[in-house]
């Protein structure tokens, strides 16, 4: 599904990612853990196609295509989804109308007919219920005046509507209380399936109690320093990143 090979990325001439290798297969959930500033969001942004991130070396294959050559909307249309760590507010653009544009743009790319208003409303009601997003929020401007938790739920709501093949979730857990975390995790788990893959970026282990990963990577200073199973997350929880870092010292 996704193959990252020796990926080097600079921002403003400063190296941030320093040779990432990562392969995710359909049906898998991978987790990336790492301290603040290690480059987790940078990786997520590069995968989604944000401007300002210069790939100086390496490549990324998504479903066999050169991902880095594709415009962000094409990546989305091909089934890539990014759940933002800090979703931006867009006053004046209603959530529901924006999502309809998104759903239908993606359907068009797939050669499908647009959803009519009634089918769309039915789908959005069902998916909003999944993440317990109040009806009122679906009608408001995108993320405008949303609390931190509401924004994260809105991300998962959008993901559920767009049914991506590869979801990259950037710290979807941060700022959530335990109940909200469970709701979000349920939304994510509902989407798991043999044809889908996920890359769950998190700072804390607790999300991984609810979204159990197949593979865990530890990202420090732009490099993946450890890869293991979910036991690695437990170890990190006990020893902290310092412990992992120390263990790496020769």
């Amino acid at each position: 599904m996704l193959k990252i090979e020796d990926l080097h990325v600079e921002v403003d001439g400063k190296p941030i990612l320093k040779g990432i290798n990562l392969e995710i297969e359909a049906g898998q959930v991978h987790a990336i853990m790492g301290p603040n500033g290690s480059g987790k969001s940078t990786l997520a942004y590069v995968l989604a196609g944000k401007d300002g991130y210069e790939v100086t070396k390496g490549r990324v294959l998504y479903k066999g295509q050169d991902l880095l050559e594709m415009a962000p909307e094409l990546r989305a249309a091909e089934g890539l989804f990014l759940g933002f760590q800090y979703p931006v507010a867009i006053p004046g653009v209603s959530n529901i109308y924006f999502l309809k544009a998104a759903v239908n743009a993606i359907r068009k790319h797939r050669g499908e007919d647009p959803l009519d208003a009634i089918d769309f409303m039915k789908l959005s009601k069902e998916k909003a219920a999944l993440v317990q997003l109040p009806d009122e929020l679906t009608k408001r401007s995108v993320n405008d005046g949303f609390s931190g938790g509401e924004k994260k739920r809105n991300e998962i709501f959008q993901m559920a509507m767009l049914e991506p093949s590869l979801a990259v979730l950037d710290e979807t857990d941060s700022g959530l209380d335990i109940d909200a975390l469970k709701v979000v995790a349920e939304g994510v788990n509902a989407l798991r399936g043999p044809d889908r893959a996920m890359l769950v970026i998190t700072h804390y282990q607790r999300l991984l109690d609810h979204i159990v990963p197949d593979v865990v990577h530890v990202l420090i200073d732009g490099q993946i320093v450890r890869t293991g199973d979910k036991g690695l997350a437990m170890q990190l929880e006990k020893e902290g990143y310092a412990g992992v870092r120390n263990a790496l010292q020769p």
């Binding site: 401007d51 415009a71 909307e73 989804f81 867009i90 006053p91 004046g92 309809k100 998104a102």
Partner: protein, 405 residues
């Protein structure tokens, strides 16, 4: 009837005024005097610095007699709409002191005062709350030559009365010049919502002068879509304690348009509130100007005044001038002002695109939303719908939005 004699605007001023009541002759005389002394504005006139009126000042026009806006809606009960010419003939005393509400006129307003022939007086008597909007339309049709139209409207809203007025000024592109003056007199606790739309207005110089008594509320929403040369001033005099005004505006320009909005809010009494939000989009080779001033007079304590102008510059060839400013002569006030000129927010754009929305549509959605937030305040539903539709037609790629709303 069209007078085929063509003259410059100043050249058309008579040397004496011999029709109408004494006070009107004196008023017109003073206006003419001011004009003879100071002339029409030039580039060096501060408030007209960015308004290229020279082509208008130097040109010769024939006088058109179609300056009376027509009523485009039934007249609600309790409201009268009379011809200014008729009233000036039959009961001139009713208008004494009401045709110079904004003080001594200068420049184009002085020209209008000296030369208007007829106009409309809309009156809502005290205590009359009029729900149905009154719609006025002034459509300038192209005449053979280059014509000038003087349009004059007086609106009086009595104590505790309420009115919604919707004005539409549309014109064919061409050399026509419309010089319009609307005067509004709001009694104590009177309320007025005033929607004003300019669509491809050609050459237009217009102003609205509002005089507000205590606890009155005036709310203006101006939407300007294109214009070869449009200069539009709104001036509110908050004379009575507790008066409020809310001035909102949206402008969208393209091609060689020049659109120029000025506001003046004078806080003359205490406990008044004013709020202004103007937003504009400039593309093509157009120029848009916003100049707003809030003057807080001495003794106008507990004033609250806010002013904001935000602009989107969508082309390298377009120009935006913005100048919100404050003059404060009282100490117990809350005032704010700000202006921005920028392009679309890249983070918002990226967010939309990561959801699969193609870049042109994402651009259109954000551009539309930027102005729609003002158009949304147009209180008259049919006009609001028409303006939304016009935005969709004028914003590049916004046609695609229609498919998803």
């Amino acid at each position: 009837m069209t007078n085929t004699n063509r003259q410059t605007l100043l050249g058309s001023l008579p040397t004496s005024f011999d029709k109408g009541p004494d006070w009107l002759r004196a008023l017109r005389g003073r206006a003419a005097e001011t004009l003879r002394e100071h002339g029409l504005p030039t580039k060096r006139t501060e408030a007209w610095r960015f308004t290229p009126v020279r082509s208008v000042v130097d040109a010769e026009f024939s006088r058109e007699e179609e300056g009376v806006p027509s009523l485009a809606s039934p007249l609600p009960d309790g409201v009268t709409a009379r011809s200014l010419r008729d009233v000036l003939r039959s009961e001139p005393e009713l208008l004494d002191g009401r045709l110079d509400l904004g003080g001594a006129p200068t420049h184009f307003a002085a020209l209008n005062t000296a030369l208007f022939d007829d106009g409309l007086w809309i009156d809502v008597p005290a205590g009359n709350v009029v729900e149905a909007p009154i719609e006025l339309a002034l459509a300038i049709t192209k005449s053979a030559g280059r014509g000038v139209v003087y349009s004059r409207v007086l609106v009086t809203v009595g104590d505790d009365a309420e009115l919604t007025l919707v004005e539409t000024y549309a014109g064919e592109e061409g050399g026509q010049l419309t010089n319009s003056v609307v005067e509004v007199d709001l009694g104590c606790n009177a309320k007025m919502s005033h929607v004003r739309v300019h669509e491809n207005a050609g050459f237009q110089v217009g102003r609205v002068d509002v005089r507000q008594a205590a606890d009155s509320a005036y709310r203006s929403t101006v939407v300007t879509l294109g214009g070869a040369l449009l200069r539009f001033d709104v001036r509110c005099l908050l004379q009575g304690k507790g008066a409020e005004c809310q001035l909102d505006g949206a402008y969208l320009i393209d091609g060689d348009d020049h659109v120029d909005h000025h506001t003046v809010v004078e806080h003359q009494a205490s406990h008044c509130r004013s709020e202004q939000t103007y937003r504009g989009i400039a593309s093509g080779k157009g120029t848009a100007v916003f100049d707003g001033i809030v003057i807080v007079h001495r003794g106008a304590q507990k004033t609250e005044a806010h002013q904001e102008n935000r602009n989107l510059l969508l082309s390298d060839m377009a120009t935006i001038h913005t100048k919100p400013h404050l003059e404060i002569d009282a100490d117990d006030v809350i005032c704010s002002h700000g202006a921005t000129v920028g392009s679309l927010d890249q983070d918002q754009l990226f967010y939309l695109r990561t959801r699969g929305i193609p870049e042109p549509l994402a651009n259109a959605m954000l551009t539309y939303a930027f102005l729609e937030s003002i158009v949304d305040r147009v209180i008259h539903e049919p006009t609001r719908a028409r303006m939304r539709e016009a935005l969709l037609t004028r914003i590049p790629h916004a046609e695609d939005i229609r498919g998803v709303t």
